[in-house]
Amino acid sequence: MVALPAVPLIDEVVDVERRELHASEVPWSTVVWNDPVNLMSYVAWVFRRHFGMDAPTAEQRMMQVHTEGRAIVAEGNREAMERHVEAMHEYGLWATLERAPR
């Protein structure tokens, strides 16, 4: 057996690459979660009104929330996603933000 190096070299390389990204450039996602209360018509309307989605896109995202339990509705920097999450809470939708999958 070969002894593993004490420091995981691969992670280190990844870390170096990540450090080059300014905090404002790290992508985040706004996620809307399914709840049993909000009406489907209302959720689709919120997506149209707040995000400016066209009707088919809003309908598709709403159905994704409904059937898969969650959908990503916006991506961007952290501050912008926090504003979206707060707006969703104003509308009574259950939303969170998280780091976008990379």
């Binding site: 009406l39 209302y42 309307w45 926090e82 707060e86 809470h89 104003e90 009574g92 969170t96 933000l97």
Partner: protein, 163 residues
């Protein structure tokens, strides 16, 4: 109440005094609950309705969630409380009337209503889990759903006309 119609510069519905009193009472209770919740973060832990009205913005990061609550929770609760209190205020005359009243809303008013009604349904959904008068609450819950759906319909119509 038969639903809203689009009129010049807004939306109109005819509301019976009894309907207005029920809605105004619910709206005042919601406003009071949000007022308490704004001042007392621990209500999010003890009252599931408050937890649902003011959810955490981060799911798997308690530190970020706590920071978010510190910076944003109170103002959000106050804004939601103001949707509810403006909803209640719009119903004041109709509640005091002896006959049905025509209520007119501009777009901002309709947004207050559609949001406050949604928040009321979130609270009722939690209260129905444990409450005594479940059937009565279910009727209210369904009635509010109808009203919210109706408002979405006319808000959409107004948007289409503008386009």
């Amino acid at each position: 109440m038969r639903g809203f119609v689009l009129v010049d510069g807004g939306f109109e519905a005819v509301v019976e005094p009894e309907e207005a009193r029920i809605l105004a009472s619910l709206a005042a209770q919601l406003s009071a609950l949000l007022g308490e919740a704004a001042d007392d973060e621990s209500l999010s832990g003890s009252d599931p309705a408050v937890a649902r009205l003011l959810p955490d913005a981060y799911r798997d990061d308690e530190e970020a969630a706590a920071e978010w609550r510190r910076l944003s929770r109170r103002a959000l609760a106050e804004r939601k409380g103001s949707f509810a209190s403006r909803f209640a205020a719009a119903l004041a005359d109709a509640s005091a009337a002896s006959e049905s009243t025509r209520i007119r809303l501009d777009e901002a008013g309709a947004l207050d209503w559609v949001r406050a009604i949604g928040d009321l349904r979130l609270v009722l959904a939690e209260r129905m889990e444990v409450g005594d008068d479940r059937e009565g609450m279910r009727d209210l819950y369904d009635w509010l759903a109808w009203m919210q759906d109706d408002l979405v319909r006319v808000l959409d119509l107004a948007e289409e006309r503008r386009a």
